[in-house]
Amino acid sequence: MNIEEVFSSRLRMKILKVLAQVGELNVSEIARRLRANYKTTNEHLKILEDEGIILHKVFGRIRLYRFNEHSPKAKAIQDLMEAWEHANKQ
Protein backbone atom coordinates (compact mmCIF):
# COMPACT_ATOMS: atom_id res chain seq x y z
CA MET A 1 0.00 0.00 0.00
CA ASN A 2 1.27 3.46 -0.89
CA ILE A 3 1.82 6.07 1.77
CA GLU A 4 -1.00 8.25 0.39
CA GLU A 5 -3.39 5.30 0.67
CA VAL A 6 -2.42 4.61 4.29
CA PHE A 7 -2.70 8.29 5.18
CA SER A 8 -5.88 8.88 3.17
CA SER A 9 -8.22 7.61 5.89
CA ARG A 10 -9.14 9.99 8.70
CA LEU A 11 -10.02 7.07 11.00
CA ARG A 12 -6.68 5.34 10.36
CA MET A 13 -4.87 8.53 11.26
CA LYS A 14 -6.97 8.85 14.41
CA ILE A 15 -6.15 5.26 15.35
CA LEU A 16 -2.45 5.95 14.96
CA LYS A 17 -2.80 9.14 16.96
CA VAL A 18 -4.58 7.44 19.87
CA LEU A 19 -2.02 4.61 19.94
CA ALA A 20 0.79 7.15 19.89
CA GLN A 21 -0.78 8.89 22.87
CA VAL A 22 -1.85 5.90 24.95
CA GLY A 23 0.55 3.16 23.93
CA GLU A 24 -1.55 0.02 23.97
CA LEU A 25 -5.31 -0.49 23.59
CA ASN A 26 -7.86 -3.15 22.77
CA VAL A 27 -10.20 -2.87 19.77
CA SER A 28 -13.36 -1.93 21.71
CA GLU A 29 -11.55 0.80 23.59
CA ILE A 30 -10.06 2.27 20.40
CA ALA A 31 -13.52 2.26 18.81
CA ARG A 32 -15.07 3.81 21.93
CA ARG A 33 -12.48 6.59 22.15
CA LEU A 34 -12.81 7.44 18.47
CA ARG A 35 -16.60 7.06 18.52
CA ALA A 36 -16.29 4.67 15.63
CA ASN A 37 -17.95 1.43 14.74
CA TYR A 38 -16.25 -1.71 16.08
CA LYS A 39 -16.22 -3.48 12.72
CA THR A 40 -14.79 -0.50 10.83
CA THR A 41 -12.14 0.05 13.51
CA ASN A 42 -11.20 -3.61 13.27
CA GLU A 43 -10.82 -3.36 9.48
CA HIS A 44 -8.57 -0.33 9.72
CA LEU A 45 -6.47 -1.99 12.39
CA LYS A 46 -6.01 -4.95 10.07
CA ILE A 47 -4.82 -2.66 7.28
CA LEU A 48 -2.32 -0.96 9.58
CA GLU A 49 -1.13 -4.31 10.86
CA ASP A 50 -0.71 -5.65 7.31
CA GLU A 51 1.50 -2.64 6.64
CA GLY A 52 3.61 -3.64 9.64
CA ILE A 53 2.94 -0.33 11.37
CA ILE A 54 1.13 -1.83 14.35
CA LEU A 55 0.91 -5.29 15.90
CA HIS A 56 -1.28 -7.00 18.39
CA LYS A 57 -1.01 -9.38 21.28
CA VAL A 58 -3.75 -11.81 22.26
CA PHE A 59 -4.77 -12.37 25.87
CA GLY A 60 -7.67 -14.81 25.83
CA ARG A 61 -10.38 -12.93 24.04
CA ILE A 62 -8.58 -9.60 24.29
CA ARG A 63 -6.44 -8.17 21.49
CA LEU A 64 -4.16 -5.32 22.50
CA TYR A 65 -2.78 -3.18 19.67
CA ARG A 66 0.37 -1.06 19.77
CA PHE A 67 2.95 0.44 17.43
CA ASN A 68 5.39 -2.08 16.06
CA GLU A 69 8.62 -0.98 17.68
CA HIS A 70 10.67 -2.82 15.03
CA SER A 71 9.06 -1.09 12.07
CA PRO A 72 10.82 1.96 10.54
CA LYS A 73 7.43 3.08 9.18
CA ALA A 74 5.97 3.04 12.71
CA LYS A 75 8.96 4.97 14.02
CA ALA A 76 8.61 7.58 11.25
CA ILE A 77 4.88 8.02 11.91
CA GLN A 78 5.43 8.38 15.65
CA ASP A 79 8.15 10.99 15.04
CA LEU A 80 5.88 12.86 12.63
CA MET A 81 3.05 12.91 15.16
CA GLU A 82 5.30 14.06 17.95
CA ALA A 83 6.80 16.86 15.83
CA TRP A 84 3.30 17.88 14.72
CA GLU A 85 1.97 18.04 18.30
CA HIS A 86 5.06 19.91 19.45
CA ALA A 87 4.79 22.50 16.67
CA ASN A 88 1.06 23.00 17.42
CA LYS A 89 1.81 23.70 21.06
CA GLN A 90 4.33 26.45 20.26
Binding site: G23, E24, L25, S28, G60, R61, I62, L64
Partner: protein, 398 residues
Protein backbone atom coordinates in the same frame (compact mmCIF):
# COMPACT_ATOMS: atom_id res chain seq x y z
CA UNK B 1 6.70 39.57 62.22
CA UNK B 2 8.12 36.41 63.77
CA UNK B 3 9.39 33.69 61.57
CA UNK B 4 7.32 30.52 61.57
CA UNK B 5 9.24 27.80 63.38
CA UNK B 6 8.04 24.29 63.01
CA UNK B 7 8.97 21.39 65.27
CA UNK B 8 9.07 19.17 62.20
CA UNK B 9 12.12 18.41 60.16
CA UNK B 10 10.32 16.08 57.77
CA UNK B 11 6.76 15.19 58.67
CA UNK B 12 6.44 12.78 55.73
CA UNK B 13 8.33 10.33 57.95
CA UNK B 14 5.16 10.11 60.03
CA UNK B 15 2.92 9.43 57.06
CA UNK B 16 0.95 6.21 57.22
CA UNK B 17 2.48 5.08 53.92
CA UNK B 18 6.09 5.76 54.88
CA UNK B 19 8.20 2.62 55.02
CA UNK B 20 11.25 3.19 57.22
CA UNK B 21 14.55 1.63 56.37
CA UNK B 22 14.83 -0.10 59.72
CA UNK B 23 11.96 -1.73 61.57
CA UNK B 24 12.68 -1.73 65.31
CA UNK B 25 11.61 -5.00 66.95
CA UNK B 26 10.66 -6.62 63.66
CA UNK B 27 14.18 -7.46 62.49
CA UNK B 28 13.74 -11.17 63.18
CA UNK B 29 10.48 -11.39 61.23
CA UNK B 30 12.06 -9.49 58.35
CA UNK B 31 14.95 -11.96 58.25
CA UNK B 32 12.49 -14.85 58.37
CA UNK B 33 10.56 -13.47 55.39
CA UNK B 34 13.83 -13.11 53.47
CA UNK B 35 14.63 -16.72 54.31
CA UNK B 36 11.23 -17.92 53.09
CA UNK B 37 11.72 -16.22 49.75
CA UNK B 38 15.47 -16.54 49.27
CA UNK B 39 14.87 -19.32 46.69
CA UNK B 40 13.53 -16.70 44.24
CA UNK B 41 16.99 -15.20 44.06
CA UNK B 42 18.63 -18.58 43.53
CA UNK B 43 16.32 -20.96 41.70
CA UNK B 44 13.65 -18.93 39.96
CA UNK B 45 10.58 -20.71 38.69
CA UNK B 46 11.14 -24.01 40.39
CA UNK B 47 9.01 -23.25 43.39
CA UNK B 48 6.56 -20.72 44.76
CA UNK B 49 6.00 -19.73 48.35
CA UNK B 50 2.96 -18.92 50.47
CA UNK B 51 3.31 -17.04 53.73
CA UNK B 52 0.71 -15.80 56.17
CA UNK B 53 1.42 -12.74 58.28
CA UNK B 54 -0.94 -12.25 61.15
CA UNK B 55 -1.22 -9.76 64.01
CA UNK B 56 -3.43 -7.07 65.53
CA UNK B 57 -3.88 -3.58 64.13
CA UNK B 58 -0.69 -1.54 64.31
CA UNK B 59 1.66 -4.48 64.87
CA UNK B 60 3.58 -3.74 61.68
CA UNK B 61 2.20 -6.33 59.25
CA UNK B 62 1.95 -4.01 56.25
CA UNK B 63 5.19 -2.16 56.86
CA UNK B 64 7.01 -5.45 57.40
CA UNK B 65 5.92 -6.86 54.05
CA UNK B 66 6.56 -3.58 52.23
CA UNK B 67 10.06 -3.30 53.67
CA UNK B 68 10.67 -6.91 52.72
CA UNK B 69 9.36 -6.15 49.21
CA UNK B 70 11.75 -3.23 48.76
CA UNK B 71 14.69 -5.25 50.10
CA UNK B 72 14.10 -8.32 47.95
CA UNK B 73 13.57 -6.25 44.80
CA UNK B 74 16.89 -4.54 45.44
CA UNK B 75 18.57 -7.93 45.79
CA UNK B 76 16.83 -9.24 42.67
CA UNK B 77 17.95 -6.20 40.66
CA UNK B 78 21.53 -6.79 41.73
CA UNK B 79 21.33 -10.37 40.44
CA UNK B 80 19.44 -9.48 37.26
CA UNK B 81 16.27 -11.39 38.26
CA UNK B 82 12.99 -10.04 36.92
CA UNK B 83 11.06 -9.82 40.16
CA UNK B 84 8.12 -7.61 41.04
CA UNK B 85 6.68 -7.03 44.47
CA UNK B 86 2.99 -6.17 44.25
CA UNK B 87 1.16 -5.06 47.38
CA UNK B 88 -2.62 -5.06 47.10
CA UNK B 89 -5.06 -4.04 49.81
CA UNK B 90 -7.98 -6.39 49.16
CA UNK B 91 -10.40 -4.11 50.95
CA UNK B 92 -9.64 -1.32 48.46
CA UNK B 93 -10.84 -3.68 45.74
CA UNK B 94 -13.90 -4.71 47.75
CA UNK B 95 -12.43 -8.17 48.16
CA UNK B 96 -13.08 -8.95 44.49
CA UNK B 97 -10.61 -11.40 42.94
CA UNK B 98 -11.38 -9.95 39.52
CA UNK B 99 -10.58 -6.37 40.57
CA UNK B 100 -7.44 -7.47 42.39
CA UNK B 101 -6.16 -9.40 39.37
CA UNK B 102 -7.10 -6.55 37.05
CA UNK B 103 -5.04 -4.20 39.18
CA UNK B 104 -2.01 -6.52 38.88
CA UNK B 105 -2.36 -6.93 35.11
CA UNK B 106 -2.73 -3.14 34.81
CA UNK B 107 0.74 -2.75 36.28
CA UNK B 108 2.07 -4.43 33.14
CA UNK B 109 -0.60 -3.21 30.70
CA UNK B 110 -2.01 0.07 32.07
CA UNK B 111 -4.89 0.20 29.58
CA UNK B 112 -5.97 -3.38 29.93
CA UNK B 113 -9.75 -3.54 29.41
CA UNK B 114 -11.72 -3.90 32.60
CA UNK B 115 -14.63 -5.87 31.18
CA UNK B 116 -15.39 -8.81 28.98
CA UNK B 117 -13.77 -11.73 30.77
CA UNK B 118 -13.91 -13.67 34.00
CA UNK B 119 -11.55 -13.72 36.98
CA UNK B 120 -10.36 -17.15 35.88
CA UNK B 121 -9.46 -15.85 32.41
CA UNK B 122 -7.74 -12.90 34.02
CA UNK B 123 -5.66 -15.25 36.13
CA UNK B 124 -4.51 -17.05 32.97
CA UNK B 125 -3.81 -13.68 31.35
CA UNK B 126 -1.67 -12.68 34.31
CA UNK B 127 0.39 -15.83 33.99
CA UNK B 128 0.71 -15.29 30.25
CA UNK B 129 1.94 -11.73 30.86
CA UNK B 130 4.48 -12.98 33.38
CA UNK B 131 5.65 -15.72 31.00
CA UNK B 132 5.98 -13.22 28.15
CA UNK B 133 8.05 -10.89 30.26
CA UNK B 134 9.85 -13.67 32.10
CA UNK B 135 8.88 -12.02 35.36
CA UNK B 136 8.25 -13.40 38.85
CA UNK B 137 5.84 -11.80 41.28
CA UNK B 138 5.54 -11.73 45.03
CA UNK B 139 1.94 -10.81 45.52
CA UNK B 140 0.96 -9.47 48.93
CA UNK B 141 -2.74 -9.59 49.67
CA UNK B 142 -3.25 -7.20 52.55
CA UNK B 143 -6.54 -7.35 54.48
CA UNK B 144 -6.89 -10.86 53.14
CA UNK B 145 -10.08 -11.35 55.20
CA UNK B 146 -11.86 -9.12 52.74
CA UNK B 147 -11.10 -11.50 49.85
CA UNK B 148 -12.15 -14.54 51.90
CA UNK B 149 -15.40 -12.83 52.94
CA UNK B 150 -16.38 -12.01 49.40
CA UNK B 151 -15.02 -14.85 47.34
CA UNK B 152 -14.66 -17.71 49.81
CA UNK B 153 -12.57 -20.83 49.29
CA UNK B 154 -12.79 -20.91 45.51
CA UNK B 155 -10.77 -17.76 44.85
CA UNK B 156 -8.14 -18.53 47.45
CA UNK B 157 -7.84 -22.06 46.12
CA UNK B 158 -7.27 -20.73 42.59
CA UNK B 159 -4.58 -18.39 43.81
CA UNK B 160 -2.77 -21.02 45.82
CA UNK B 161 -2.99 -23.75 43.15
CA UNK B 162 -2.06 -21.68 40.12
CA UNK B 163 0.54 -24.14 39.03
CA UNK B 164 -1.84 -27.06 38.65
CA UNK B 165 -3.26 -25.59 35.45
CA UNK B 166 0.20 -25.13 33.93
CA UNK B 167 2.34 -28.14 34.64
CA UNK B 168 6.04 -27.95 33.72
CA UNK B 169 5.96 -24.17 33.40
CA UNK B 170 7.86 -21.84 35.73
CA UNK B 171 6.16 -21.01 39.01
CA UNK B 172 5.71 -17.28 38.72
CA UNK B 173 3.54 -16.16 41.62
CA UNK B 174 4.33 -16.36 45.33
CA UNK B 175 1.87 -15.15 47.92
CA UNK B 176 2.00 -13.23 51.17
CA UNK B 177 -1.40 -13.04 52.83
CA UNK B 178 -1.83 -10.48 55.59
CA UNK B 179 -4.66 -10.88 58.04
CA UNK B 180 -5.46 -9.85 61.58
CA UNK B 181 -6.72 -13.13 62.86
CA UNK B 182 -6.03 -16.64 61.69
CA UNK B 183 -9.61 -17.54 62.52
CA UNK B 184 -10.56 -15.81 59.26
CA UNK B 185 -9.23 -18.77 57.29
CA UNK B 186 -11.24 -21.29 59.31
CA UNK B 187 -14.09 -20.93 56.86
CA UNK B 188 -11.91 -22.08 53.93
CA UNK B 189 -12.05 -25.71 52.90
CA UNK B 190 -9.44 -28.06 54.28
CA UNK B 191 -7.25 -28.32 51.19
CA UNK B 192 -7.10 -24.54 50.69
CA UNK B 193 -6.30 -24.06 54.34
CA UNK B 194 -3.54 -26.61 54.31
CA UNK B 195 -1.76 -24.95 51.37
CA UNK B 196 -1.88 -21.63 53.14
CA UNK B 197 -0.90 -22.61 56.61
CA UNK B 198 2.60 -23.85 56.01
CA UNK B 199 4.44 -20.62 56.89
CA UNK B 200 2.92 -18.34 59.46
CA UNK B 201 4.54 -15.23 60.88
CA UNK B 202 2.73 -14.03 63.99
CA UNK B 203 3.38 -10.45 65.01
CA UNK B 204 2.88 -9.98 68.72
CA UNK B 205 1.59 -6.72 70.13
CA UNK B 206 4.34 -4.22 70.84
CA UNK B 207 5.25 -3.68 74.49
CA UNK B 208 5.36 -0.17 75.88
CA UNK B 209 9.16 -0.13 75.69
CA UNK B 210 9.09 -1.36 72.09
CA UNK B 211 6.62 1.39 71.24
CA UNK B 212 8.98 3.88 72.89
CA UNK B 213 11.80 2.66 70.62
CA UNK B 214 9.65 2.86 67.49
CA UNK B 215 8.44 6.36 68.35
CA UNK B 216 11.96 7.53 69.24
CA UNK B 217 13.12 6.26 65.89
CA UNK B 218 10.44 8.26 64.09
CA UNK B 219 11.07 11.33 66.23
CA UNK B 220 14.71 11.36 65.18
CA UNK B 221 13.66 11.27 61.52
CA UNK B 222 10.65 13.56 61.60
CA UNK B 223 11.34 16.18 64.27
CA UNK B 224 14.04 18.75 64.85
CA UNK B 225 16.43 17.86 67.67
CA UNK B 226 15.17 18.38 71.25
CA UNK B 227 11.63 19.28 70.21
CA UNK B 228 9.97 16.16 71.63
CA UNK B 229 10.71 15.71 75.34
CA UNK B 230 11.02 12.25 76.85
CA UNK B 231 7.86 12.86 78.89
CA UNK B 232 5.73 13.47 75.82
CA UNK B 233 7.17 10.47 74.06
CA UNK B 234 6.52 8.29 77.07
CA UNK B 235 2.91 9.51 77.30
CA UNK B 236 2.31 8.78 73.61
CA UNK B 237 3.89 5.34 73.95
CA UNK B 238 1.62 4.62 76.88
CA UNK B 239 -1.46 5.74 74.95
CA UNK B 240 -0.46 3.59 71.99
CA UNK B 241 0.11 0.67 74.33
CA UNK B 242 -3.36 1.11 75.82
CA UNK B 243 -4.66 0.93 72.24
CA UNK B 244 -3.55 -2.72 72.04
CA UNK B 245 0.07 -1.85 71.33
CA UNK B 246 -0.90 -0.03 68.15
CA UNK B 247 2.24 1.61 66.73
CA UNK B 248 0.35 3.25 63.90
CA UNK B 249 -1.88 4.98 66.42
CA UNK B 250 1.20 6.21 68.30
CA UNK B 251 2.79 7.58 65.12
CA UNK B 252 -0.43 9.32 64.16
CA UNK B 253 -0.61 10.79 67.65
CA UNK B 254 2.96 12.00 67.39
CA UNK B 255 2.18 13.79 64.14
CA UNK B 256 -0.95 15.39 65.54
CA UNK B 257 0.83 16.47 68.71
CA UNK B 258 3.49 18.11 66.50
CA UNK B 259 0.76 19.92 64.61
CA UNK B 260 -0.73 21.26 67.85
CA UNK B 261 2.73 22.42 68.93
CA UNK B 262 3.15 24.23 65.60
CA UNK B 263 -0.32 25.74 65.72
CA UNK B 264 0.53 27.33 69.06
CA UNK B 265 4.09 28.12 67.97
CA UNK B 266 5.47 26.38 71.05
CA UNK B 267 8.66 25.14 69.45
CA UNK B 268 8.35 22.01 71.57
CA UNK B 269 5.83 19.15 71.67
CA UNK B 270 4.51 19.26 75.22
CA UNK B 271 2.49 16.48 76.89
CA UNK B 272 -0.52 18.77 76.63
CA UNK B 273 -0.10 18.72 72.83
CA UNK B 274 -0.27 14.92 73.01
CA UNK B 275 -3.42 15.09 75.12
CA UNK B 276 -5.00 17.50 72.66
CA UNK B 277 -4.01 15.18 69.85
CA UNK B 278 -5.62 12.18 71.48
CA UNK B 279 -8.79 14.06 72.31
CA UNK B 280 -9.05 15.06 68.66
CA UNK B 281 -8.98 11.39 67.71
CA UNK B 282 -11.33 10.10 70.39
CA UNK B 283 -14.51 11.56 71.69
CA UNK B 284 -13.38 13.51 74.76
CA UNK B 285 -14.68 12.40 78.16
CA UNK B 286 -18.38 12.20 78.55
CA UNK B 287 -19.73 15.27 80.26
CA UNK B 288 -22.25 13.12 82.12
CA UNK B 289 -19.33 11.26 83.72
CA UNK B 290 -18.04 14.51 85.18
CA UNK B 291 -21.42 15.75 86.30
CA UNK B 292 -22.08 12.55 88.25
CA UNK B 293 -18.91 12.92 90.35
CA UNK B 294 -19.18 14.01 94.01
CA UNK B 295 -17.98 17.50 95.00
CA UNK B 296 -14.60 16.32 96.27
CA UNK B 297 -14.03 14.02 93.31
CA UNK B 298 -14.58 17.04 91.08
CA UNK B 299 -12.27 19.19 93.21
CA UNK B 300 -9.60 16.49 93.17
CA UNK B 301 -9.86 16.27 89.40
CA UNK B 302 -9.82 20.05 89.08
CA UNK B 303 -6.62 20.18 91.11
CA UNK B 304 -5.11 17.58 88.81
CA UNK B 305 -6.21 19.48 85.67
CA UNK B 306 -4.67 22.68 87.00
CA UNK B 307 -1.45 20.93 87.88
CA UNK B 308 -1.04 19.60 84.33
CA UNK B 309 -2.12 22.91 82.84
CA UNK B 310 0.50 24.82 84.78
CA UNK B 311 3.31 22.26 84.53
CA UNK B 312 4.54 20.92 81.25
CA UNK B 313 4.66 17.42 82.63
CA UNK B 314 3.05 14.25 81.46
CA UNK B 315 2.94 12.63 84.91
CA UNK B 316 2.34 13.86 88.43
CA UNK B 317 3.05 12.16 91.71
CA UNK B 318 0.17 11.58 94.09
CA UNK B 319 1.74 14.11 96.44
CA UNK B 320 1.73 16.78 93.75
CA UNK B 321 -1.92 16.26 92.88
CA UNK B 322 -2.85 16.19 96.57
CA UNK B 323 -1.19 19.58 97.01
CA UNK B 324 -3.03 20.96 93.98
CA UNK B 325 -6.27 19.55 95.39
CA UNK B 326 -5.61 21.26 98.76
CA UNK B 327 -5.26 24.62 96.99
CA UNK B 328 -8.55 24.04 95.16
CA UNK B 329 -10.26 23.11 98.45
CA UNK B 330 -9.06 26.39 99.93
CA UNK B 331 -10.49 28.25 96.96
CA UNK B 332 -13.84 26.49 97.40
CA UNK B 333 -13.69 27.00 101.15
CA UNK B 334 -13.94 23.36 102.06
CA UNK B 335 -11.91 20.93 104.17
CA UNK B 336 -9.70 18.55 102.09
CA UNK B 337 -10.39 14.82 102.31
CA UNK B 338 -7.87 12.34 103.69
CA UNK B 339 -5.15 10.62 101.69
CA UNK B 340 -7.02 7.28 101.86
CA UNK B 341 -10.17 8.89 100.52
CA UNK B 342 -8.24 10.51 97.67
CA UNK B 343 -6.77 7.15 96.80
CA UNK B 344 -10.31 5.79 96.46
CA UNK B 345 -11.22 8.73 94.21
CA UNK B 346 -8.22 7.98 92.09
CA UNK B 347 -9.30 4.35 91.66
CA UNK B 348 -12.75 5.48 90.61
CA UNK B 349 -11.53 8.15 88.18
CA UNK B 350 -9.13 5.64 86.74
CA UNK B 351 -11.96 3.12 86.25
CA UNK B 352 -13.89 5.80 84.36
CA UNK B 353 -10.87 6.29 82.12
CA UNK B 354 -10.61 10.02 82.92
CA UNK B 355 -7.24 9.60 84.62
CA UNK B 356 -4.70 6.81 84.53
CA UNK B 357 -2.17 5.75 87.08
CA UNK B 358 1.03 3.85 86.90
CA UNK B 359 3.73 2.81 89.30
CA UNK B 360 6.94 4.70 88.71
CA UNK B 361 10.12 2.77 88.09
CA UNK B 362 12.05 1.97 91.25
CA UNK B 363 14.11 5.00 92.14
CA UNK B 364 16.44 5.51 95.07
CA UNK B 365 13.73 4.76 97.62
CA UNK B 366 10.71 2.55 97.01
CA UNK B 367 8.09 3.05 94.35
CA UNK B 368 5.44 5.70 93.97
CA UNK B 369 2.24 6.11 92.03
CA UNK B 370 2.16 8.51 89.12
CA UNK B 371 -1.04 9.83 87.62
CA UNK B 372 -1.69 11.25 84.18
CA UNK B 373 -4.48 12.44 81.94
CA UNK B 374 -4.52 10.02 79.03
CA UNK B 375 -7.08 11.42 76.68
CA UNK B 376 -8.25 14.83 77.66
CA UNK B 377 -6.34 18.12 77.49
CA UNK B 378 -5.92 19.63 80.96
CA UNK B 379 -7.30 23.01 79.94
CA UNK B 380 -10.48 21.42 78.56
CA UNK B 381 -10.97 19.37 81.68
CA UNK B 382 -10.47 22.42 83.87
CA UNK B 383 -12.92 24.44 81.83
CA UNK B 384 -15.53 21.72 81.94
CA UNK B 385 -15.19 21.18 85.69
CA UNK B 386 -15.27 24.90 86.43
CA UNK B 387 -18.54 25.26 84.51
CA UNK B 388 -20.10 22.33 86.37
CA UNK B 389 -18.88 23.52 89.78
CA UNK B 390 -20.11 27.04 89.07
CA UNK B 391 -23.53 25.74 88.08
CA UNK B 392 -23.74 23.61 91.20
CA UNK B 393 -22.59 26.52 93.38
CA UNK B 394 -25.21 28.89 92.04
CA UNK B 395 -27.90 26.19 92.30
CA UNK B 396 -27.10 25.55 95.97
CA UNK B 397 -27.15 29.32 96.75
CA UNK B 398 -30.56 29.90 95.13
Amino acid sequence: MRLYRSVFRDETKLDINYVPYGLPHREGELRLLMEFFSFILKVQGRMAQRVLITGDVGTGKTVLSQRFGTNIIREADKRGTNLRYVHVNCREYRGSLFLILHHIVSIFYPNFPSRGYSAEELLRILLQVLDDQNTYVILTLDEFESLIDREGSEAVYKLTRLQEIRMNKPQRVSLICILRNLRAIDCLDTSTRSTLQSNIIRLERYSEQQLMDILSDRVSMAFKPSTVPEDTLSLIAELAFSENGNARFGIELLWRAGKYADAEDLGIVTPECARKAVSSIYAVMRKSDLASLSLHEKLFLLGMARFFKENEKAYASLKEVEQAYAVVCEEFDTQPQSHTQLWKYLQMLSALGIVQKKVSAAESRGRSTLVYLPRVPAHELEKELSIILEKEGSASQS
